[in-house]
Amino acid sequence: MSAAEAAAAPARRALPGAPLAGVAGLLVVWEALARLPGAEVLLAGPMAVALWLGENGALMARALAVTGAEAAAGFALGNLAAVALALCAVAWPRAERLIAALALLVFCLPLVATGPILRVLYGPGPGPQVTLAALAVYYTTFVPLLVGLRAAPAAWFDVVASYGRGRWAEILHVRLFAAAPYLVAGLQIAAPAAFLGAMVGEFTGAERGMGVLTIRALRALDVEATWALATVAALVSIAVYAAIGAAGRRLLREPPPVLLAPPGAGGGARPGAALGQAALAGGVALALWWGAMEAFGLNAFFAKRPGDVWAFLVTDPGAAAHRAELFGALADTLALAVPGYLAGLAAGAALAVALTLAPGAAAVAMPVAVALRAVPIVTTAPLVVLLMGRGAAGTIALVAVMIFFPVFVAALHGLARAPGQVLDVFESYAAGPLRRLVHAQLPAMLPAFFAAARMSLPAAILAVTVVEWLATGRGVGALMAISASLSDYAMLWSAVVVVALATVAGHALVAAAEARVLARYAGEQRR
């Protein structure tokens, strides 16, 4: 094997023992940190966590059963919705852009504010948690599935066409099977996301479950319990992630693709057409919103319509004050979210690049990173608050960590994607690792990097708002918490709308940057 090939295939060359070594190293570092003098008020090591779990096993098991059931229900519903949406988009290509835009808009809803609204809509019970879990998973399944459904070579469709069969036969005999590995990859990522959604649902006011225990532990400054809860959430997520991956490998005989490049975000469309698409999607979203509220005959006190939000923010006598309050809070939130997001992007890409220059390290780091990506990071928000305090640094760090893992994993896979023959060409000119990196591997990484950057934008907002909701008492997350407790539903709905639109705008901004960069450095890789 040439050096180039070795660099190109870090994941496949991973030794069977590498993940174990990584995990063992992680445990040792964790325990050592916990044993530092003064750390006991912040950090519970693996031993302390194990002890706490031994003493409170029954309590934890009950909470896990509740949260697990909610997550499982949300996982099933969210993924069913994703499959249905993706099939619709493929069956009616004219509707694809509209479906993708609406799916993105719903994905950008701030879960933290959606939770309390769902709670009043559903009444008591697990409804909000299940819905939030479904909302947290469907987009990350929808996007790769759509890619997979479209990924088959044209020649396969010629075979179908040569027997006079049409679109449905294509879907039934070709696309569904071709998309199966992409579906598995989507389901894998969905597992921790469902757990995360269920716990965020519990944060915003449930009776039982691990989210409730987490809030209780945080209020009581119970370090062991907080760490134990985060550990269990992480372990369960990693286990389900691994189980789905293993089942997928058995069923598919080929590894699921890790690179989940979403459909090009309107690449090549004229600005006018894109604007028209956005207007259409916005109009349909408003109609669906209003229609759903009316169809279920929901009480206008808590089930606000588009008109109510418009009045609250624009036409009311107090609209200026409302706007000032909401946008002030949003500015506070963005002041934390943007630096954290950029730091996460930079750290993820930088570490991936550093590891690629030292290929042996990548083989060890990849399995650990893939496992840690499965950790529902937001469930560790209380830990970050414990560790870094309630100031800006803690929040920014949490956002950065939340963004870091998906970007790191995507960048590492992207870097490994530089075609072997291309690398051999570099090798034949005795180009050093740095030149190989700049000219071959970085361009190969860019599409994956940007895909991850776009997909993780709502996660950044989620991370900030959760910390604000739980701990810091500032920003739009805190505003949502206060509005929820004061039953100020007009403000709550307005916050949902404004945050969702801000997230969509951020997404469009990243997509525009992506289009420019890819056109320049990786033109042939655009779809």
Binding site: A155, W156, D158, V159, S162, G164, H173, E254
Partner: protein
């Protein structure tokens, strides 16, 4: 065209293809007018990239012509496809990687909404030299074996019209001779109308009743040569003077087409 029982002939009238591109577009197939007799086997020979695949795809109705039309019997290609009356073997074998060889052959029956008598698939796999590989997935086969599986897939629906795009391109020399010997017997017995694209002169003369020589892009007919050898071809026919003369005529026409470029292609001799 009168409707007659049995396999249909093909009639191409002014069939042309121009791909839109900067500077007036790229003409791939110049207006093409020919009849192909029912039950006959015709080879389309031409240099790589001359547009012969596009011509074949237009006859199958998989590519929309820029001008002209195709009639298969008294039907359009779409109508023939709708009743699974034709089968195409593509340059790329286009096997579905998650189906076994048998599953890929059976796919044609599923798509055609037909059933085959028990043992049909095994017989066809034996004919193309794939006995023992029915349960293998395409990923484990060589390029030539995949191509042979694709040929079996074409034959299983017993189409009236068989369109083969370089069916033996990746097949090794020995197997290719065997197939060139066996397959025409099968489709002659069925009375199938066959069009096949190749760039091998020997293969064309060995298999076809008629050879159309095409010029470099845009494809024009340089020569239309009837192959006057016995059917079925006797053993060792490649070594006969008659065969050599025919092959020489085809080669000469190819060279003439290349020398004149695609611009002034000759009509049939």
């Amino acid at each position: 065209m009168p409707a007659e029982p049995g396999p249909p002939g093909i009639s191409c009238a002014g069939l042309a293809k121009r791909f839109p591109a900067a500077g007036g577009g790229l003409e791939v197939v110049a207006p093409f007018t020919r009849e192909f007799a029912a039950g006959a086997t015709t080879a389309l020979v031409g240099p790589s990239g001359c547009g012969k695949s596009t011509l074949l795809r237009m006859i199958a109705g998989l590519e929309t012509p820029s001008a002209g039309s195709v009639a298969i019997g008294d039907e359009t290609p779409a109508e023939v496809r709708a009743r699974a009356g034709l089968a195409v073997s593509f340059q790329d074998p286009s096997l579905l990687p998650w189906r076994t060889v048998r599953g890929n052959v059976a796919l044609a029956l599923t798509l055609a909404r037909r059933r085959a008598a028990a043992g049909t698939i095994d017989r066809l796999l034996a004919l193309v030299g794939l006995e023992g590989f029915a349960g293998t997935r395409p990923g484990a086969l060589s390029g030539g074996m995949r191509q042979r599986a694709a040929i079996a897939r074409c034959l299983v629906t017993e189409p009236e019209l068989l369109l083969l795009d370089e069916p033996f391109g990746a097949v090794d020399e020995l197997t290719r001779r065997q197939l060139a010997h066996d397959l025409p017997r099968l489709w002659e017995a069925r009375g199938t109308t066959t069009l096949f694209v190749t760039h091998s002169v020997t293969e064309a003369v060995l298999i076809a009743d008629r050879v159309l020589v095409l010029s470099p892009r845009p494809a024009r007919v340089v020569a239309d040569i009837p192959v006057t050898l016995d059917r079925p071809r006797p053993e060792g026919v490649e070594l006969t003077v008659a065969f050599a003369e025919l092959a020489e005529r085809v080669s000469a026409a190819l060279a003439r087409g290349a020398a004149e470029g695609g611009q002034t292609g000759l009509a049939a001799q």
